[in-house]
Symmetry: C2
Subunit: 419 residues, 2 copies
């Protein structure tokens, strides 16, 4: 079974939007052993949509289409497919009830267009839209198209993702007959070539059904160990052997053998150890608090965050002394240390972390360039005394990248404290 | 002149990497009036590469290919094109000197493979690689392919981007003879179908050279008005007429006629009016502060943020009274009002905004469901007295979406105060 993905939308062709739907679908299909052969992006023009679908149905067993199912005029996919297959539209009452319900809840009037959105193509399996209005469809295209399947989904990522997880993947998984296991290995504090050198033996001895990919990202590099086969147990076993071998070689740089984010691991460790945390942020501007509070359940360990952008706020909220600010400047290890200590003392938390640095683009100097970060952590010893530590790092991105990397460094520092 | 983009790479088809090259190329071509008709992602397999290039050369005047020019085994593009066009490889001394120089600088030995990287296809215009080793190529494919042009570039984004900016765009701009103007219109507080209803007359009377796209995103919907033509002044004029018509119909929901984010507009207005802001966040968990501090120059108006997740933090940092918390619960308008007032008073800022709500997935009840947001703003009147206002909203996303929408609502409330 082989798949094509068709992403519809002028905004994608103009480069106004990045296509994140196609990689999501590709990963989901990969996990049930269905490889993707082509990803095609085409315009909202009905002829272009039709040509792309016909061309993909000729070579793929499964064609997944996103975009063009909403209520506005530039949404034309359903009509194109209807004409292509020569089928009628049928009213799908479940979808209509859901649409009416959503509109009622939001206090909006139900218009005629809403009824139109609840129509699905004859002979299709309607896919409920748990995050929006227009339903998706799974369509057996009949003998004329070699019984290939067509899946129509909205282009809105959350709606499409829910449909993939709840309906599309469960429908096609039993039909695939192959298993793929992808195991992500998340590392921190190590570069790609250094990591490659460390696990060279594992890579040289990789079994034939397993591949190893490097996935560099803003804050480091991750590995993906992928094993494919027709027997689930053999696939699991081979995959685990390779993962174990990598962990034994590079374990101290690995923070998770799953797709957990660094903040998820930090929050999980804090909750397990019943510890609380508070943060004091200058250059990360709230991003560190936001990442920690992105994790469900973080209210069980995250007490408070203070975004002290101005010197006055550093003094009044954290008790940083005006003398330290004057002598060393706001971006300095002494200030970071006082921020972390003040944050710990005033919040009553068990751990605290503080950031002060220069995110850019302005504010840099020869001595303190853009990308400079002073980071401090504070914790309580068994005897109740407070221990503080500071370090200075430098990053080389734009403002937004620097904020991300600064927050990543702060999360890493917290994780080190929790080891 | 119409273009296709072909992105080569198994990692793209597996969904392990998001294709950011294609949108970059599409935007660069759009700016010189060359529309992109299709973006195709295919595997590293030579046959798949060949099929994709032949198919695109049949319909496009210009085909841009990224990926498959490096020294590793899975890079096969050049060989495929060479065979397709029946041409020789020629040694390109400039590229070789550059490669030798780079390797010398990095202290690595120059191997035979390096000489191979400096070979370009006969009859091509070599494109210098200012950020890496393998040169790109601009190839006139000859009469057999209707004199369509093929552009080969590496898949590494920085290398490709430099080639586009320094060589490819300057080469094709004089050949295009057309202009495109894209004007984004950013709206807030309105859904896609409601907005479409409001501007239905404009859409019905759209001039033939102008298109209108809806770009829904987590927090609302934006519009893109695109006009194409051969005379720059006529293009500008027609585009402005359509934009003006939309603004006159939907003006009160429009916060920018540019690609500015809501936080950029808020920060700009604050700086223009020399006002300062402080924020008190519960359910947005730092995201609101982080969005405001994403804007360069925000340190000129953003004083501080307080992420008061626990009740204790709401009391100690913002002065919310234990009685109010007890009587109404942390998620309530009275608590939001006290948070906003406390934030204003303690920070000394001119404006303050406070959020308290339930981001989910846990913590909801029948009375206070997941997605509920209590929002308050505080400002100083001319007589020095403090004015506070609260409102309650409900969102329907997952935790991360709710945080984004909560923060969007808070930014909107700030913008309303600044009108």
């Amino acid at each position: 079974m082989k798949a094509d993905i068709i992403s519809i939308g002028d905004e994608l062709l103009k480069g106004h939007r990045i296509n994140t739907n196609a990689p999501f679908i590709a990963r989901a299909l990969g996990a049930i052993g269905i490889p993707v052969e082509r990803i095609v992006t085409c315009s909202d023009d009905p002829e272009a949509i039709s040509r792309s679908i016909v061309s993909s149905l000729a070579s793929a067993d499964l064609v997944l289409v996103t975009g063009g199912l909403g209520p506005t005029r530039d949404d034309r996919t359903r009509k194109v497919v209807q004409e292509l297959l020569g089928r009628e539209l049928l009213f799908f009452p479940d979808a209509y009830e859901r649409i009416v319900e959503i509109f009622r809840r939001r206090g909006r009037e139900v218009s005629g267009e809403m009824r139109d959105q609840a129509m699905v193509i004859e002979g299709s399996l309607p896919v409920p839209n748990t995050k929006g209005t227009a339903p998706g469809m799974i369509i057996d295209c009949g003998v004329r198209y070699g019984n290939s399947h067509l899946v129509l989904m909205p282009g809105v990522p959350v709606e499409m993702e829910a449909m993939m997880n709840l309906s599309v993947i469960p429908f096609f998984a039993p039909k695939s007959g192959r298993f793929i296991l992808h195991t992500p290995i998340m590392t921190m504090g190590i570069g790609e070539s250094q990591l490659a050198g460390m696990i060279v033996d594992v890579e040289d001895g990789l079994p034939s059904a397993t591949t190893l990919s490097y996935l560099p990202h803003a804050a480091g590099v991750s590995l993906m160990v992928s094993t494919m086969g027709s027997e689930k147990e053999a696939v699991d076993e081979e995959n685990r052997r390779v993962v174990d071998a990598i962990v034994s070689k590079a374990g101290r740089f690995i923070y998770a053998v799953s797709d957990a984010s660094l903040e998820e691991v930090v929050v999980r460790r804090l909750l397990e150890r019943r510890l609380t945390v508070a943060v004091a942020e200058s250059c990360t501007g709230g991003l560190l608090s936001s990442r920690l509070t992105d994790v469900p359940g973080s209210s069980g360990c995250f007490l408070q965050g203070m975004v002290t952008y101005s010197n006055r706020a550093k003094e009044s909220l954290l008790g940083v002394s005006p003398e330290t600010l004057e002598s060393f400047g706001a971006v300095s290890e002494p200030v970071a240390l006082e921020m972390a200590r003040g944050c710990l003392e005033r919040s009553g938390a068990d751990l605290a972390v503080a950031t002060t640095g220069i995110a850019g683009p302005g504010g840099g100097s020869a001595e303190k360039p853009v990308g400079m970060l002073c980071l401090a952590v504070a914790s309580r010893s068994a005897d109740g005394s407070i221990k503080v530590e500071a370090s200075t790092l430098s990053m080389h991105g734009d403002r937004r990248q620097n904020k991300i990397r600064f927050s990543e460094a702060a999360l890493r520092a917290l994780l080190e404290l929790l080891r």
